[in-house]
């Protein structure tokens, strides 16, 4: 069955540093990979989508990579700020696959 793995432990970093979150998937080959942000008590909010033929995608301080050989996506936030503290979810999708969400990684940026 399809499996998505994100670090279950919270990632703690200092303000100004780059945060890197990992999403690994097994047993399928998604054509797309989406990343969402979720704040406590709220629904997830879409951030970025990367296609399988794109190695990297950027949006402001965000960068996503997609390695279909490793079956992995990395999500980077550069110059992190306390306001970036949230849970980040990855969601592989594509073809017949309805987007399936990982359990998310909590990011805590300390001032």
């Amino acid at each position: 069955s399809q499996k998505i793995e994100q670090n279950s432990e919270a990632l703690n970093i200092q303000e100004g540093k780059t945060a890197t979150l990992t999403c690994n998937y097994t047993n399928y080959s998604p054509a797309y990979l989406q990343w969402y942000r979720q704040d406590p008590g709220r629904g997830p909010v879409f951030l970025l989508l990367i296609r399988e033929n794109e190695k990297e995608k950027r949006k402001e301080r965000l960068k996503v990579t997609f390695d279909t050989t490793l079956k992995q996506s990395l999500f980077h936030i550069t110059a992190s700020q306390p306001a970036d503290s949230a849970t980040y979810l990855c969601a592989p999708s594509g073809g017949s696959y309805i987007p399936t969400f990982g359990r998310g990684t909590s990011l805590i940026v300390h001032p």
Binding site: P30, A31, Y32, Q34, Y36, G41, R42, G43, P44, V45, F46, L49, R51, L89, A91, S93, G94, G95, S96, Y97, I98, P99, T100, F101, G102, R103, G104
Partner: protein, 113 residues
């Protein structure tokens, strides 16, 4: 209305009672989804609808039913609630399916006692 609305915001329900969670979107999106989110388990898909008039089962459909009579509304019904259905329920919509971003509602916090 802007985006997706859900009602109620929260509810405490006695076991065995029937409950319908409402979801309405005004974006004319074709696809709609219902998820439940539990601590440590993440978002799990309950049911989905790719277009009005069609529905499909997700990862955890047992005990839930949905209907999609029109584009805007996608209600989720618990026919006879059980305590294991205590969760936060999110409705989402997207313009298409796999390559399209999902827009989520604010969620309904349901407690079954």
């Amino acid at each position: 209305i802007a985006g997706i609305t859900q009602a109620p915001t929260s509810q405490i329900l006695a076991a065995g009672r029937r409950m319908t969670l409402r979801c309405t979107q005004d974006m004319r999106h074709n696809a709609m989804y219902w998820y439940r989110q539990d601590l440590g388990l993440g978002l799990r898909l309950i049911h989905y609808s790719n277009t009005a008039g069609t529905t499909g089962k997700g990862e955890v459909p047992d005990g839930y039913s949905v209907s999609r009579a029109n584009t805007d509304d996608f209600p989720l019904t618990l026919a006879s609630a059980v305590p294991s259905q205590t969760s936060v329920y999110f409705c989402a919509s997207s313009d298409g399916t796999s390559s399209y971003e999902q827009y989520f509602g604010p969620g309904t916090r349901l407690t079954v006692t």
